[in-house]
């Protein structure tokens, strides 16, 4: 039998019972549409997070003192203690052509007071490069000046939350604060966007790194924040950092480098898994639709017994009867799948329309996968009624009036 004839025969059989056919198509298309809409949301979330990371700058590298092993187990108790990271280490990194900015950072906590108000906040000892590396926007005044970071000036930049707590709506620029035992003049104020991954700069005071050394009485950096000259320079920057520090630390590679892009990859992986999970949950509805197809086809087979008997009497072998019924199931599932893709795409568009801030993105693989699953569903659940039809005894089938 020709393929077109097989399809034509199936089409007539399906259109002869429009209500039933439409119901199956509805079930199938809802299944496919939900796969597409849910994966669109998952993929959108992934893209959204990626985009957020992009704006923060994925060219950042964080250098921490000491080698962190990620293999688990106990930390080396008797190993050599890592050498301190120093301001000079930071300055030496600036010579690399792959590196744009190096911000040395000393972190500590100290009470900050103005007039009668006092607050215990995180103090950032850093340099002018911090602003450039983290892209910090200013609300008023200036950031730390671009001079020698070994210069312990008594100036500070405060986050917007700290500013509100200490000054309310009064002008802060030019006022003198007390941080710990020392006095600092406020030269700038960060705007509310001064925020980076894992660091909230709104409730901090930023002072020159040399001043922080004196304030906390330590000569080692807590970390360095390095910004590469571009994404393509990241690997070179990382290699340069390792080589330079190793040279300066007598051959010990006693630092840990964290890259923001690897953090992004982790997030990306988690969200990708989430998208797959959503697709999997939605795929359950496809299976339900498949069972519905099977059910309806089984009813159809028992209603069309005499027709099956006739086909056999006219010389159709078992395999042909099987093909006829299987192609009916396949036509149903594929048609439902295609309708579902359109409903799904329309649904995704609607969500994008009503929630404009959320990027809804339909991944191509979701469309392909849901169509493939649809076909497999049709084949699997169609094969049971089809083989039942094919196995019918023609004598009994014909006598069934």
């Amino acid at each position: 039998m020709r393929i077109l004839d097989t399809l034509g025969f199936g089409k007539i059989a399906l259109t002869a019972n429009p209500t039933r056919t439409l119901l199956i198509l509805l079930a199938m298309s809802i299944g496919v549409a939900s796969v597409i809409i849910l994966t669109s949301l998952g993929e959108g979330a992934r893209k959204y997070v990626s985009a957020q990371f992009e704006t923060l700058g994925s060219e950042l590298l964080f250098i921490l003192p000491g080698k962190r092993e990620t293999t688990g187990g106990l930390p080396p108790l008797l190993g050599t203690s890592p050498k301190d990271l120093t301001i000079d280490d930071a300055l030496s990194l600036k010579r690399s052509r792959a590196i744009a900015y190096v911000a040395p950072v000393i972190l500590g906590a100290a009470p900050v007071s103005f007039a009668s108000r006092e607050r215990e906040v995180v103090i950032f000892g850093s340099s002018s490069d911090l602003k450039a590396a983290l892209d910090l926007p200013m609300a008023a005044g200036h950031f730390l000046p671009d001079d020698d970071p070994r210069n312990a000036a008594s100036i500070c930049v405060i986050g917007n939350k700290l500013k509100k707590e200490l000054f309310d709506n009064k002008k802060a620029i030019g006022e003198w604060l007390r941080i710990g035992e020392r006095r600092f003049r406020v030269i700038g104020e960060l705007s509310s966007k001064g925020q980076s991954v894992g660091m909230d700069l709104s409730d901090t005071a930023i002072i020159p790194v040399a001043s922080a050394e004196i304030l906390f009485n330590k000569a080692s950096l807590s970390r360095m924040i390095v910004k590469a000259r571009g994404k393509e320079s990241l690997d070179k920057a990382e290699a340069d950092i390792l080589r330079t520090i190793k040279q300066r630390h007598d051959g010990d590679e006693d630092i840990t480098i964290l890259r923001q892009d690897s953090l992004l990859q982790t997030f990306d992986g988690v969200l990708q898994t989430l998208t797959w999970a959503l697709a999997g949950i939605a795929a359950i509805s496809l299976i339900v639709a498949g069972i519905l197809i099977m059910n309806v086809m089984l009813v159809s087979v028992s209603q069309r017994k005499s027709e099956i008997g006739l086909l056999k009497a006219l010389g159709a072998p078992t395999s042909q009867v099987l093909t006829l019924f299987l192609s009916e199931a396949l036509m149903l599932s594929i048609a439902g799948g295609i309708i579902g893709v359109f409903i799904g795409l329309a649904g995704a568009k609607m969500i994008a329309y009503f929630i404009p801030n959320f990027p809804v993105q339909t991944p191509l693989w979701a469309i392909a996968a849901s169509l493939i699953v649809t076909i497999i569903t049709g084949l699997i659940f169609g094969s049971i009624p089809a083989s039942k039809a094919a196995k019918l005894n023609p004598v009994l089938a014909l006598s069934d009036k």
Binding site: D5, G309, A316
Partner: protein, 228 residues
């Protein structure tokens, strides 16, 4: 043409074994016009199904033009039916959603004939049974007699040498029944072997060879010289 030798067919109903065919031996020649009569359950329909290879015997031999058929595979039996047997049923067995032309086309479609060739054949066949103007009518829009004529045309569209009719007039009034018988007998006159299973004495008597069955056995087999 056909040689049946000791054909047995039994069914198990509960603990009992029902012998639908009990050692039936029968020779049929090409061009025969045979009626098979008998009470319900005498095995006449089973014999007809056996001749059309819709049913397989439990034992015995069925030879068609010297070829043994009882050993054929399911696939080969289907091919045999398509090439050699036309079936006519009491309830016509037209597919309700297909038009008269669509029903006629079915055997040609199943064998994979090209649409163009099919359409010519269907057109000719419809003209032969006088239903050319009913080509696009669904079975429910045709009278019983017309439906049976379509069914006969369908059975004969591939020109099989053997035509098996199971109560062909059972669902028809006398007038349309006579039309149908006329067509069947014309086909027989053109050389096709016609075997009719019927309750209808009048129809049965028309055949040149009359077989009577009881409890799965042939109890009478009379050949008259010429049809009435």
């Amino acid at each position: 043409m056909i040689k049946l030798q000791d054909i047995c067919r039994f069914f198990k109903v509960g603990d009992e074994t029902v012998h639908a065919l009990d050692k039936v031996t029968l020779d049929i020649s090409r061009g025969d016009y045979i009626s098979i009569m008998g009470a319900s359950g005498s095995g006449k329909s089973t014999l007809l199904n056996m001749l059309g290879l819709l049913d397989m015997p439990n034992s015995g031999s069925y030879q068609f033009e010297g070829k043994e058929l009882t050993t054929l595979s399911e696939e080969k039996r289907a091919t045999f039916r398509r090439e050699n047997v036309g079936f006519i049923f009491q309830s016509f067995h037209l597919i309700p959603r297909l038009t008269a032309a669509g029903n006629l086309e079915l055997p040609l479609m199943l064998m994979g004939m090209a649409p163009k060739e099919r359409h010519t054949k269907v057109k000719d066949a419809l003209a032969n049974i006088g239903l050319a103007d009913r080509a696009n009518h669904l079975p429910k829009q045709l009278s019983g007699g017309q439906q049976q004529r379509v069914a006969i045309a369908r059975a004969m569209i591939l020109k099989p040498p053997l035509l098996l009719a199971d109560e062909p007039t059972g669902n028809l009034d006398t007038h349309s029944g006579n039309d149908v018988i006329k067509i069947l007998e014309e086909l027989n006159a053109s050389g096709i072997t016609l075997i009719v299973v019927t309750h209808d004495l009048e129809l049965g008597e028309r055949a040149t060879r009359k077989i009577k069955m009881l409890d799965g056995k042939i109890i009478e087999d009379v050949t008259s010289e010429k049809p009435i």
